[in-house]
């Protein structure tokens, strides 16, 4: 149940493209044709599914405050979390390179379809963003990290597939000249994001009475409150532990 919830949440509610704008560069650059969009989307799912759990593991056993305790009790006070950016990006760059080599060796057909996109992916913000969000949302287990990686990958895949399909069709409509290309793509993405916002009530079950009054401010407020509460709880628990 937990897995299912996180899975749907990462696909629809926290959609990489529409809610957090991650991976926009390649989303805009590679969405002119459906076929290439599918290739890049598949590569993103693939890489996210590998790197998020790997970075979860690194975060858990190397970077978090007190994570080095497995080396011995005297390491309990080390806090390497300031290294997380560099560790995450190094993992991603290495994994991408490794995946490229392995895929080339064992599945030339897949390599031909993913091949050119793999190097692009090392610098796709969706990948690093996946790991950073995994860290900041404190995903508790390795299994959930895998689910989160795959889920957000599928969310990104859906987004790029949808926009590529729309862009293929939009060629036949008369768009104002100055909006052609980039401009109209932005506006369509904005409209799609508004659509995706409606998934927001899916998990909470939609407390309609309250939500109807000031849905937007309410949503922002509860989100903020949640974050605040969470932080408070954490500080409390750490204080208790000490």
């Amino acid at each position: 149940m937990e897995h299912l919830e996180l899975f749907f949440k990462s696909i629809f509610i926290d959609n990489m493209v529409f809610a957090t704008f991650l991976g926009m560069c390649s989303y805009l650059a590679v969405s002119k044709k459906v076929a290439t969009a599918v290739g890049l989307g598949a590569a993103v799912i693939f890489v996210l599914a590998i790197t998020v759990p790997l970075n979860w593991w690194i975060d858990q056993y190397l970077l978090q405050p007190g994570a080095l305790v497995w080396l011995g009790p005297e390491y309990a006070e080390f806090d390497l979390s300031f290294l997380s950016f560099i560790m995450f990006i190094a993992t991603i760059a290495t994994m991408v390179q490794l995946v490229e080599i392995v895929v080339e060796k064992f599945s030339p057909a897949l390599y031909n379809s993913l091949g050119i996109f793999l190097p692009l992916i090392a610098v796709n913000c969706a990948i690093l963003g996946g790991s950073l969000f995994m860290q900041s949302r404190e995903i508790p287990t390795l299994g959930l990290a895998v689910t989160y990686g795959i889920g957000s990958g599928i969310g990104w895949f859906l987004a790029i597939l949808a926009i590529a399909a729309i862009r293929e069709k939009i060629r036949y409509s008369s768009v104002p000249p100055a909006l052609r290309g980039l401009g109209i793509t932005f506006i369509i993405t904005g409209l799609m994001a508004i659509g995706f916002m409606s998934f927001g009530g899916m998990l909470t079950g939609g407390d309609e009475g309250e939500a109807e009054k000031e849905p937007i401010e309410q949503a922002i407020k509860t989100e903020k409150d949640d974050v605040d509460n969470k932080e408070e709880k954490e500080t409390n628990t750490t204080a208790l532990n000490q």
Partner: protein, 232 residues
């Protein structure tokens, strides 16, 4: 790669003044006709995610200015010793180091703001503007030119961020940098525009409006300069 270096040496032979016309162009071009966001389509992610407040946009622009300015110089100094096969990893390490500095400084001096920016400071690492400029410019040019190019591009990025942030904060919460500029919106004691029945548009604070505002910026820019219009 060797060829490029050779050509470059030949091209560098006549000494240029520090602020020659060509060098000035490096700074001014990215502001308008070759803007990294609206024309080169780089670095969109952060441009959209953190522009709900003007303050966050300005801080982000400064952070990118620092990372790109310094990073471009570092990469340009190392350009002849980086093996081209592993250059992406080298570039990533340089950016990541600079971003860690920015992140720690923000956490030390502006903790609240670093919470608002959350993971997006870290995402400067994968901001395509940075990698794009490293690849396209710093690897082939000397440090001074690379520095100017970095400054120019981050100003171009900052300008768009500030424009979007300005409109989103003004229309969304009626404030600028946190100061109320349109009067007092609290019911019962309304002043300024609110007394006339004006309401804040909370929608502007939500993610999708960033895309639409940016779309409109692009629209205006391209109608002013017809040469930028795409074919389809």
């Amino acid at each position: 790669m060797a060829e490029v270096v050779e050509q470059e040496k030949v091209a560098k032979a006549p000494k240029e003044p520090l602020f020659s016309k060509k060098n000035r162009k490096l700074v001014t071009d990215p502001l308008t006709d070759n803007n990294p966001i609206t024309i080169q389509v780089l670095g969109i992610c952060s441009a959209l995610a953190i522009t709900a407040e003007l303050k966050a946009s300005i801080v982000m622009a400064i952070a990118v200015l620092f990372v790109l300015g310094v990073g471009n110089v570092v990469i340009s100094l190392m350009r002849n010793i980086i093996p081209s096969k592993i250059r992406i990893i080298v570039q990533l390490v340089v950016v990541a180091t600079l971003v860690i500095i920015v992140d720690l400084v923000l956490k030390a001096f502006a903790y609240e703001l670093s919470k608002t920016l959350s993971v997006f400071v870290g995402l400067i690492i994968t901001n395509c503007i940075i990698m794009g400029r490293f690849e396209a410019f710093a690897l082939a040019n000397g440090p001074w030119k690379a520095f100017l190019d970095g400054i120019g591009n981050s100003f171009g990025y900052g300008v768009i961020l500030i424009i979007v942030g300005f409109f989103r904060e003004l229309l969304g919460s009626g404030t600028l940098l946190g100061f109320p500029v349109l009067g007092n919106p609290i019911a019962g004691e309304k002043t300024g525009l609110y007394a006339l029945g004006y309401e804040n548009n909370g929608f502007m604070l939500l993610a999708p409006m960033a895309l639409i505002v940016l779309g409109i910026v692009i629209w205006i820019q391209r109608s002013r300069n017809e040469a930028l219009i795409e074919e389809n």
